[in-house]
Amino acid sequence: MNPDPITNPLGPALRDFFISADASGHKRAYLQISEALQNPLPRVNDWRQVEYAFTRLFVGPKSLEAPPFASVYLETEPLVMGPTTMMVRSVYEMMGLVSPWKNALPEDHVSLELDAALVMENAAQQGGSAELDELRQFFVCRHMAAWIPAFVKRVSQAESAHPAIVRAAKLAGQWVDDQAVLINAQRNQHLKQGGWNG
């Protein structure tokens, strides 16, 4: 897979998919996901059905079938804005970033986390630093990798699972896996080269 987020739009497209508000947003992001892949995704005929499934899974108003927040998968109690959300907020702060929906949308929403991973990847490509590497190791390889698979599983097994959404979720899971492999490879390379020097 192409590691360059500027030329590879898969990460951004996945990010946009999980935060889009309606059928047209889902469709736009889905087509972008499809374009970023070598094998295009199956056609979706009725985007309204995707939208209904999407709200049942991630938005409401009913109890969510697959909440898109890390807290739900990492904490013993199903609540947001607790330790996990605050930890993720700290990570963004460390990067000098902040969510535009601070205190209105939990920072551990899957799309915000994907965005943070993209920022980190981009910064690493611009040269990076030992601190960034450490943060990225933690955030992507440990934190995201700890909950995204559970999230993907929950989406796949949900009553309202729609094939398009399941595909997007699985791709997100794969994307995080690939990132983790890449980060570890880069780290090993840096260690071999004798560490960071700038």
């Binding site: 947001v80 990067m95 969510s99 949308l105 799309s111 965005d115 920022v119």
Partner: protein, 757 residues
């Protein structure tokens, strides 16, 4: 996250030192660039400061639920996030503690299940929901309102049902919004306490109770149909204190409650026979000459007629037969009650939810009055009060749009919280009985209810005759509900609007029980896109005026904190001994009122005395004297009781995760005798059924309920279709129309049978 991960999180950032180190390192390296087209933004001063451990902002809140205790709350916020809450220590009533429900409050704003955005359902009940913007939602609603106004030449096709989901004073903006749109239809009355309110008004001239903190002064306490151990936990400490000082506590309830377990005497009264019991006690007190002759002569009218009635028609034996309480016990408690000075009775709301409920409360009032216990500290027939509710009702009192037309010939709606202050006008709103909502929705015509607006209420869980309600909900052309969670009512709505929790809005709260006043400050931003009821009204008004200028008088911009401030006036400041509302930021204030209601013995009745004989009551079609009134005739084999659960306030709280842990699913409770007659054993799945409908659930056998009763708690569960209103009809109680606009409802005069499935 496994343990190792959790450790590494802690190491990486949990400790403020290493977190600071991290920040320093990264700051030195320069902030990372946000992605073009990405979501995260560069951190700047506008986004707020980074907060380290220990930096709490403290806010004042109040529990706005329909609970006696209306607790004063102190909340702790860090970096814009509510961390924890505690009961305010400044209020001697709250005394630094909340109940289990209160402590679970932090779970409300941050539940992933919260309603987050305005949403529309394509096909009522289909489950096909789409997210829409506030603009879209307001546009759809406003267009519909303009359309119905054009069609009917009035707004009477717009109906409002709202009750006790949020008692914050600024939430009267919902009623204000209706008024600002024209003359509308209001579902009025109250399912809660109306028969008792009327009864106390006939007897005393108002509903006004002693300060509950003054219960420590009582020498004898009768808890009559009240279960404070569950429903007013803070009052229990005064009851215990009185007990410690030698007071005897008698609990009268068909169900052996947790309160009954704490009492010195427990009477398992036959349901709805409380009036007979009170009259039997009164007769014995009369016979023994234990009544307060001087008090009744000086302060009451009609006592002699009442005494004649007792002598001619009531005996202790009759009372015993009716109530199931042995004569000897009636005699003993009656004598003790009359001898103890002061003695008090707490009249619970359950015992007036009967076809004879108002008459029952009047009999109990009479018992307190004839023993001279009215107007005394430590005494009183305690029911509730609204003496501390003298706000400006700024949010409520809106002008009608020019030229608005309404209902002709009516007197306009009332309610237990009626502060409308409408001047005499040609038109009024159209009033429909809230306790017969299903029937009203089905039969209201010319115009029918075309748009139904629901706020602070879960109609499908709380209103009666649910099978009929399901039919009724098919009728309106548009149903809008304003909610925090997906209830059975939202399920049958077309549009749902997300509303703020108490932490996300500014308001004030008074109690209908104690004498404290609390300010409720907004401590956190609304999560997602939630808006307060005031902001929703403003948003709708903006859209209405855009579509049709002048069609709505509600301000289009509101500052909710300013609106909270506008509710105060000098009388409130004087009553609470404060200079400004700002004083409440330091803690709640208590009204500078005498602890005893009616302490000056100036009653609010036409005669200005306590009225054993109320001509007004007779004019209203009831009995002038507090005579016995027959109970509802059973229509099935067992009596059905649907009281409050410990884990919720009506349909609220039960869905919160901490509550779910203790209270996973509903049960019905049956006496072993009733069970064995039906071949039912503990844990069986049973069907509770009657002429209204049926409910299927697991049974628990218990001797706490009488052998002729099946009991289940009223509740709304997040993932369970349970609904006790499937087996409760909408038969009216005797009183309620006088003060609350509609009679109450005989919630506990229901009957059913049970069988194993």
């Amino acid at each position: 996250m496994d343990k190792r991960d959790a450790e590494s999180v802690k190491q990486a950032i949990g400790c403020p030192m290493s977190r600071r180190k991290f920040l320093r390192c990264l700051a030195a390296a320069g902030a990372l660039a946000a992605m073009p087209g990405g979501l995260l933004r560069s951190f700047d001063a506008k986004a707020g400061k980074i907060i380290y451990e220990g930096d709490y902002e403290i806010y004042r809140n109040a529990c706005p639920r329909n609970c006696y205790d209306t607790c004063s709350i102190k909340s702790y916020v860090k970096d814009g996030v509510l961390q924890f809450i505690e009961g305010a220590k400044e209020s001697t009533f709250t005394d630094g503690g909340l109940c289990v429900k209160g402590y679970a409050y932090t779970r409300r704003p941050y539940s992933p299940d919260r309603i987050k955005y305005p949403m529309i359902q394509d096909g009522r009940g289909s489950g096909n929901w789409r997210r829409i913007s506030w603009d879209e939602a307001m546009d759809m609603i406003a267009k519909k309102l303009v359309e119905i106004n054009d069609k009917d030449d009035s707004m009477l096709g717009l109906g409002l049902t709202k009750y006790s989901g949020n008692f914050g004073i600024t939430n009267y903006a919902v009623e204000g919004m209706m008024t600002s749109l024209g003359y509308t239809t209001r579902l009025v009355g109250t399912p809660c306490w109306p028969a008792g309110i009327d009864a106390q008004n006939y007897d005393l001239g108002d509903m006004w109770c002693n300060d509950p903190e003054d219960m420590v002064n009582s020498r004898y306490i009768i808890l009559w149909g009240a279960n404070p151990a569950w429903n007013s936990v803070h009052t229990m400490k005064y009851i215990y204190a009185a007990q410690d000082r030698g007071a005897k506590v008698v609990c009268i309830d068909p169900v052996f409650t947790q309160t009954a377990a704490k009492a010195d005497v427990y009477w398992q009264v036959d349901t709805s026979m409380d009036g007979a019991l009170a009259l039997g006690m009164a007769r014995h007190i009369l016979d023994k000459g234990l009544f307060d002759k001087a008090w009744v002569e000086e302060n009451s009218v009609g006592f002699n007629e009442f005494a004649d009635y007792l002598r001619n028609e009531i005996t202790v034996q009759w009372a015993s037969e009716k109530s199931g309480i042995p004569q000897q016990q009636i005699v003993e408690v009656a004598e003790e009650f009359a001898a103890a000075k002061p003695a008090t009775i707490w009249i619970g709301y359950g015992l007036q939810r009967h076809v004879n409920g108002g008459a029952t409360v009047r009999s109990i009032d009479a018992l307190a009055a004839m023993t001279g216990n009215v107007g005394k500290t430590g005494g009183g027939a305690r029911y509730g009060h609204m003496r501390t509710w003298g706000f400006n009702y700024h949010a409520l009192l809106q002008k009608r749009p020019e030229g608005a037309k309404g209902f002709l010939g009516g007197k306009g709606p009332k309610g237990d919280f009626d502060f409308s202050g409408d001047e005499e006008a040609e038109y009024t709103d159209r009033a429909l009985n809230i306790n017969k909502t299903a029937e009203m929705l089905l039969t209201a015509d010319d115009p029918p209810i075309r748009v139904l607006w629901i706020s602070c209420k879960n109609v499908l869980s709380q209103d009666f005759d649910r099978p009929r309600m399901l039919e009724a909900f098919k009728k309106p052309e548009l149903i809008v509900s304003v909610e925090q969670f997906f209830t059975q009512t939202v399920e049958l709505s077309d549009i749902v609007l997300p509303v703020t929790t108490l932490f996300e809005e500014s308001t004030i709260n008074a109690s209908y029980w104690h004498y404290w006043l609390s300010v409720n400050e907004q401590g956190i931003k609304p999560m997602y896109e939630a808006k307060s009821n005031t902001e929703i009204a403003a948003a709708l008004s903006a859209r209405m005026n855009k579509l049709k200028p002048g069609s709505c008088t509600f301000p289009t911009e509101v500052d909710t904190r300013q609106w909270m401030i506008k509710e105060f006036n000098q009388d409130i400041y004087d009553l609470f001994g404060i200079d400004s509302w700002q004083d409440l930021k330091k803690g709640p204030a208590k009204a500078k009122m005498h602890p005893a209601s009616w302490h000056d013995l100036e009653f609010g009745t036409p005669s200005k005395k306590y009225e054993f004989r109320s001509d007004l009551c007779a004019q209203h079609g009831h009995q002038a004297l507090p005579k016995f009134k027959a109970a509802r005739k059973p229509y099935d084999k067992l009596r059905l009781l649907t009281p409050h659960t410990k884990f919720g306030i009506h349909s609220q709280f039960i869905n919160i995760d901490w509550m779910e842990e203790f209270n996973k699913k509903p049960y019905c409770y049956l006496h072993p005798t009733a069970a064995s007659e039906r071949g039912i054993t503990d844990g069986d799945q049973v069907r509770v059924f009657n002429k209204v409908g049926e409910v299927e659930l697991e049974v628990k056998l218990t001797q706490n309920v009488p052998a002729d009763v099946v009991m289940m708690y009223e509740a709304w569960f997040r993932n369970n279709a349970y609904n006790c209103q499937n087996v409760v009809d909408d038969t009216s109680s005797d009183m309620g129309k006088y003060k609350t606009g509609a009679p109450g409802v005989a919630i506990h005069d229901q009957f059913a049978d049970v069988e194993k499935v």
